[in-house]
């Protein structure tokens, strides 16, 4: 029972971390061109991250 006192908050915190990470990625436009992102790994050049 005592372990639950910190295990449940820890689990919820990690879950919330994942959720906020996803929401951040969504907001910064990383899901806008999924098809293009898959093909872009084949493009061979030294490009800087651009949006």
């Amino acid at each position: 029972m005592t372990t639950l006192v910190y295990l449940i908050p820890a689990a919820l915190f990690l879950g919330a971390l994942g959720l906020s990470g996803f929401l951040w990625a969504l907001r910064s436009g990383q899901y806008e061109d999924l098809h293009g992102a898959a093909e872009r790994i084949l493009v061979d050049r030294d490009d800087k991250p651009e949006r």
């Binding site: 639950l4 919330a16 806008e32 093909e39």
Partner: protein
């Protein structure tokens, strides 16, 4: 990736279709300023399809002066170009040289898809909550007792609150909307079930009860939101794909002021009385009258006539007509909102028939389902009250009935099938506007086709090339390359590579033909009466004074016969439709002779020629009155009202803007086989939807008695609901197998791309 290097014929085709490059004023108008002198232009490039395309385009565009950068979006097939300065860099031409056609489309001012973002956020929140609550619930099911169980229930209740408030809001709003208007939709039982389940669970938690349904209410939301998001993504993708096609209505025009100044004004600001300069290759933006100049006009989109019309000063022209050969000065006689185009929109709105009355399968089912479910729950409550008199127990069991019947499988049954079907169609170059379009297409029994631009390509093809002296044909082809008249384009396709004939001076006489001089002799390619009427062999030839000829110093050396080329696979498509039990009919604004020829070639028995736009609508309405469900396939402005009037409609990607917007399906490839394929997929989707609904009903007939008898615990509810959802999804995925077999059996389609090489059929 050699797939990206345009083949020889492809390049040729592109050169021939240079006619509609947007002018730099037009690009300016479509660009938006990012501040700091930076502008952004979004172009639609339908032929982008792999990594090599991305690289070619981005590097080539970045090399242009004043271009800051270019970014290809492969999903939407668009390029965003950021550039500085006042001069528009020649990026459209640069793309053209690479072999990619680029089109402008209406700039959306940061119109990001808000609904999609909201749905995805809701899915994420519901998924997070469902996962965590499920973990706690599993602990309860495996035997947590007393204070531990209460703690788990309390934590679950806390996690469920944001999920219900945020993710559930979508359903609550929709349900409230439906109820307020006295309607019933699938969201009503969902909203009622979810909120009652939560309220009861909270009550149980407070009273240290054994059963709480937090997991059921949140995972239900999660599943349903997934279905809803996929449904939305499908429709959104089709919408952007359709929107990014070339825009055919003129966006603006060069206005000649009284003092001689020239201004490029958007269409909306053009008033009657203004004088407009229309260059060759531009579309006429508003109805008007020609003041000066002569030219040939391509009316195929407006009236369905396949042969270009000669015009001279004094004649009236309609909005939407393409000016082919000479530049014209016209005086606007109507503003854009009163032009031919707007009249078509009005006709279309007046004709909107079958669609407004159509109720989607899901709505029809839920109109029956929700009252039955709520009544069952109420009767259960009364029954248990009568039997035991324990209101708490009666309430608990009644709510358990509501939870178990919450239409999770039913809510997924329809959208999942339609998403899979739409994806299959999308991969074959067919865009579906919404799910109800597929439901409607599955029910049709009559298909009505427009001729010009739909059954045919709306582009003439040289039919007697075999009987023409190859040397003369090559000379004619070199001459023809200087014109954008459709006949010239057809002849120019026969140019011999490398064998460029040297002409000293080439001039185009709008309405007549092309003239060139070469080492003392004069060549003319054009109308018989103008180019010369004496044949080398004497006599007038069998074509009389009409027809197109090549003359040398007034002597006819070759004559050309044209026919409107049939769309690829038109014959096969009509055959397949007939096999599917559909009666086929052709309606056209073209002459009876032209129609008869096409109808005979395709095996279409019924056709009606010389129809006005309203005539097409009348014909479709007559068919509808006789109890037929009509599919309309058409591309022209004149077909638009008919597209709106029909039960369901399909347009090719080359159709006029408003036609494409009116149609339920848009096919991007040249092959007309898209029509039978769409029908086939829709019918199979319809069958699967019915199966899915049957599965959901069978599930309920098993689960509901168990719930009524009071044997449902949260664990049973979770298992039953997940199982039924998985079953429904699995059944929907079977469509994938169906259609793959279908596609393999069909002949290979032409390259994706709207103007893929023309194949003689």
């Amino acid at each position: 990736m050699s797939c990206c290097a345009p083949g020889a014929e492809m390049a040729l085709e592109l050169e021939n279709s240079i006619s509609v490059l947007p002018s730099s004023q037009e690009i300016r108008l479509a660009s938006r300023s990012l501040g700091g002198g930076l502008n952004q232009t979004d172009l639609s490039v339908p032929m982008v399809h792999c990594a090599a395309c991305i690289q070619t385009i981005e590097t080539a565009l970045a090399k242009l002066d004043d271009v800051e950068g270019a970014r290809v979006n492969l999903s939407t097939k668009r390029v965003a170009i950021r550039w500085r300065g006042d001069q528009v860099p020649p990026f459209v031409a640069a793309l053209g040289r690479l072999g990619y056609e680029a089109h402008l489309f209406a700039p959306e001012v940061d119109e990001k898809d808000k609904t999609l973002a909201e749905l995805i956020r809701a899915v994420a929140v519901a998924g997070f909550a469902a996962g965590n609550i499920m973990l706690l619930s599993v602990s309860v099911w495996s035997g947590a007792e007393g204070a531990t169980r209460d703690l788990f229930h309390w934590v679950s209740a806390l996690i469920a609150i944001p999920a219900l408030a945020f993710a559930g809001g979508i359903f609550f709003r929709s349900a409230w909307n439906a109820l307020r208007h006295g309607r019933m939709n699938m969201d009503v039982p969902i909203a009622v079930g979810v909120s009652l389940a939560y309220a009861m669970s909270l009550y149980e938690t407070i009273n240290h009860g054994e059963h709480a349904y937090f997991d059921a209410s949140v995972s239900l939301l999660f599943f349903l939101l997934i279905g809803r998001t996929l449904d939305h993504v499908m429709r959104e993708r089709a919408r952007t794909a359709v929107k990014s096609l070339s825009q055919l209505a003129a966006r603006g025009a060069m206005v000649l002021r009284r003092d001689g100044a020239r201004d490029y004004l958007p269409v909306g600001e053009i008033a009657p009385g203004m004088q407009l300069l229309i260059a060759a290759g531009e579309r006429i933006p508003v109805d008007g009258q020609i003041i000066q100049g002569a030219s040939d006009l391509d009316c195929s989109l407006v009236s369905g006539e396949s042969t270009p019309r000669n015009v001279a000063p004094g004649e009236a022209v309609q909005a939407g007509v393409l000016n082919l050969t000479g530049s014209l000065t016209i005086e606007a006689t109507a503003a854009a909102k009163d032009s031919f185009l707007a009249e078509m929109v009005r006709l279309m709105e007046a004709a909107e028939g079958g669609r407004a009355h159509y109720r989607r399968i899901a709505d029809r089912v839920s109109a029956l389902y929700a009252p039955v479910v709520h009544l069952t729950a109420f009767v259960t409550f009364l029954g248990w009250m009568a039997a035991t008199g324990d209101w708490h127990r009666a309430m608990t069991i009644a709510i358990a009935v509501l939870i178990i019947t919450c239409p999770c499988a039913l809510g997924l049954a329809v959208p999942i099938v339609q998403v899979v079907a739409a994806r299959r169609l999308f991969e074959n170059g067919i865009m579906v506007k919404d799910g109800s379009a597929m439901e409607r297409l599955a029910t049709i029994d009559t298909a009505v086709f427009d001729k010009t631009g739909t059954l045919t390509l709306g582009q003439p093809r040289l039919v007697n090339s075999g009987s023409i002296d190859p040397v003369m044909l090559a000379i004619a082809a070199d001459l023809a390359a200087h014109s954008r008249h459709p006949f010239s384009k057809a002849i120019a396709g026969f140019a011999t590579p490398g064998g460029q004939h040297k002409f000293d001076a080439v001039t185009e006489h709008p309405g007549f033909g092309i003239e060139a001089t070469d080492a003392g002799s004069t060549w003319r390619l054009g109308r018989r009466g103008w180019a010369g009427s004496k044949a080398r062999t004497g006599g007038e030839g069998k074509h009389g004074y009409g027809g197109t000829v090549l003359t040398k110093n007034g002597m006819i050396v070759a004559s050309f016969a044209f026919q409107d080329a049939l769309r690829a696979d038109a014959c096969a498509a009509i055959d397949q439709l007939k096999h599917a039990g559909i009666s086929v009919e052709m309606l056209s604004g073209d002459t009876a002779a032209a129609c008869a020829e096409v109808a005979k070639g395709l095996g279409v028995d019924d056709f009606v020629p010389c129809l006005l736009p309203s005539g097409k609508v009348e014909r479709i309405e007559t068919l509808a009155k006789d109890g037929h469900k009509v599919l309309m396939v058409g591309d022209g402005l004149n077909d638009t009202p008919a597209l709106g009037a029909a039960h369901v409609s399909i347009a090719p990607a080359t159709a006029a803007d408003i036609g494409r917007n009116a149609a339920d399906f848009v096919f991007l490839r040249e092959s007309l086989l898209a029509v039978p394929l769409a029908l086939e997929v829709s019918r199979k989707a319809g069958r699967l939807i019915r199966q899915n609904i049957a599965i959901a009903i069978v599930y309920n007939t098993i689960a509901v008695p168990i719930a009524i008898l009071g044997h449902v615990t949260p664990l049973v509810a979770a298992i039953a609901m997940s199982a039924s959802s998985l079953l429904v999804i699995g059944n929907a995925l079977r469509l994938q197998g169906f259609v793959l077999a279908e596609v393999r059996g069909a002949p290979p389609a032409t390259r994706s791309g709207i103007r893929a090489s023309v194949q003689p059929s």
